[in-house]
Point group: C2
DNA sequence: TTGGTGAGTGGGAGCGCTCCCACGAGGGGC
DNA sequence: GCCCCTCGTGGGAGCGCTCCCACTCACCAA
């Protein structure tokens, strides 16, 4: 059933070129001819052959979304699913397609890089959740592939979209301080990621603002997983915090379990704030006070930025930071106040 | 940096054809020539242009994964993330790429269908979680597009991979019966999906085997979401079940909440079995006795089946059913036995 | 009348690849 | 010594499209 331009042209009694013009909405075709051609297209069910078109135009209308270091955690946490979903929607709107690239090992990475980027099958790439030192970024830069990072990247040439992790964390810790807490623990995410670092930085800034000295005993590094939340709290408890800032909701779930096992009630005995506001945050008991990040908008913006970069190359670097918001639920209470 | 075959050929002092043969591992090239060509390829960093190749071979090495009716639920439930992850891995192994197609409205569906399938940009399609009457299937069948369904489909021409939902549900309910339960409620999934129907059918079969009469009051239809679990249990409770079979872990989480609110302890006051064995099943309190389905293998098999179909067309329809397994944890207890 | 202009159209070239056919060289059978 | 066959190689054609250039045909100004 797959016709070519030439055949449609014969059907409409015009030339291949004219059909091409009509299909691509080129202006210089007479109204009458345009009508006839569209009719022939409709009747024959003609669909332009995308591959042939790509060979000439050097565009595939496909963008890749690359998620390096595929830890299973990434996919039990709903962050990526939501990101993927919104990115796809946004692609639909811009008439692009989304190609999924996940890889676990760096051998995979190399392999996929050559296969995709070298191949010229992608118009551009969205890099999600890379570690700060991910070798993918320099490679993309070197090869001049249009790409956008989700999450900030230190290299000034990199376009990125990010949420305000520092501000969000600062807001959360600030809130704890205003509730009277002074010994505030921090259960961080992986500190080789930008958002891991930034959330800790926000914590630090809030303390500084309120002239609370920074205490290393109150900091434990986790890795964003639930189990690291459990373990982290266990390591944190000897320092006797009255509140804990946890770098992700998923970790908070684990933290909550550890606190319960230690016989501590939240928020009566200890306050908890976390980060992300994924569905579990409001579903769990007690519902978590947490920093909401607009994952959907983040993804949409990443796609839009990339599409812009593909279609108008040469526009300079650009960093977009979306605001975060503190959602107050029931995991915090004023220090020392009984119910 | 992107060279063509012709240029590499000049570098190696052979013809375009010979380089093509070498790159595609065609046997009839002398060892010496082959060596020279590979060297030229390596030195020049040549990468075949995939689009040009596709134009000739009519293959893109891209398969689509289509998830219709994009309810948000699909993406808070980890089923799809896990499916996607395993499918991608399996694609990597087979040197295919995975293109993601999600759409919410049927207008989107039509649009995407034309864009992808008509376009000839996909070698084949994996259809995940379609409703039984999804119009996508007849379309694909009509157009002769190679495709595989995840989940059974009534049309005998459809290739599908599925898990044994009936057997799994039967096993779960059987277990409850052996624990002494007779009034067993069923909180079903959407009954316009194959797995929704099948899990109910398994429940039915278990009752029949043990000659327990089927009681409509003990059946409530849900839609696989957490909130439908909560609501469902509330509607079920008046019928006074001593155990409930819930069609998914996600629903069981909601059910658990409703039971707790009703003042019932699991498993002391009421037993619960569910289906899926997603991570939350073992994380929640109490850990759920549930039917494990091998999502990862399901995805891998879908990819393999599709690749086989693409590369060896004409091989007939085929239905693969993977076994399920009952994972016994702590949400069930013998009827009437006190701790 | 002539030349210029611009809108509308057609055809050739070429994107980078694969596939087929042709051709020469070398080897074995008679 | 001749024929045939095989092996290795080169070049042409063509995949379906876009883009450029050239051409025709009003139409209008000089």
């Amino acid at each position: 059933m797959s016709l070519t331009l030439e055949e449609v042209a014969r059907l409409a009694g015009v030339s291949r070129s004219t059909v091409s013009r009509v299909v691509n909405e080129h202006p210089s075709v007479s109204t009458e001819t345009r009508r006839r051609v569209w009719e022939a297209v409709r009747e024959s069910g003609y669909q332009p052959h995308a591959v042939a078109r790509s060979l000439v135009t050097k565009r595939t209308q496909i963008i890749g979304i690359v998620i390096p270091e595929l830890v299973t955690a990434l996919f039990t946490d709903p962050f990526f699913p939501i990101l993927l979903r919104s990115a796809t929607e946004s692609c639909n709107e811009h008439r692009y397609q989304l190609m999924l690239s996940l890889f676990s090992s760096s051998a995979d990475r190399k392999e996929m890089y050559e296969r995709l980027v070298g191949n010229a099958y992608l118009d551009g790439v969205i890099v999600a959740s890379s570690a700060l030192d991910d070798p993918l970024i320099p490679d993309l830069l070197r090869d001049g592939v249009p790409f956008v990072c989700v999450g900030r990247h230190p290299d000034p040439r990199v376009r990125s979209v990010d949420v305000d992790n520092i501000g969000g964390a600062r807001m959360a810790v600030d809130y704890l301080i205003r509730l009277g807490h002074r010994r505030i623990g921090a259960l961080t995410g992986r500190l080789d990621t930008a958002h891991g670092q930034d959330r800790l930085e926000g914590y630090r800034q809030a303390l500084t603002t309120h002239q609370i000295p920074f205490n290393g005993d109150l900091i434990v590094e986790g890795d964003f997983t639930e189990s690291s939340g459990t373990i982290g709290v266990q390591r944190l408890l000897p320092a006797d915090p009255s509140a804990v800032f946890v770098a992700s909701d998923t970790m908070a779930v684990g933290a909550l379990r550890a606190l319960r096992q230690a016989g501590l009630e939240v928020p009566q005995d200890i306050a908890l704030v976390s980060f992300d506001d994924i569905p579990v945050a409001s579903a769990i008991e007690p519902p978590l006070t947490t920093v909401r990040q607009p994952i959907g908008r983040l993804a949409a913006l990443a796609v839009e930025t990339l599409v812009d970069l593909i279609e108008h190359p040469g526009s300079g670097p650009q960093r977009i930071v979306l605001p975060t918001e503190l959602v107050i639920r029931e995991s915090c209470r004023e220090k020392g106040v009984m119910p």
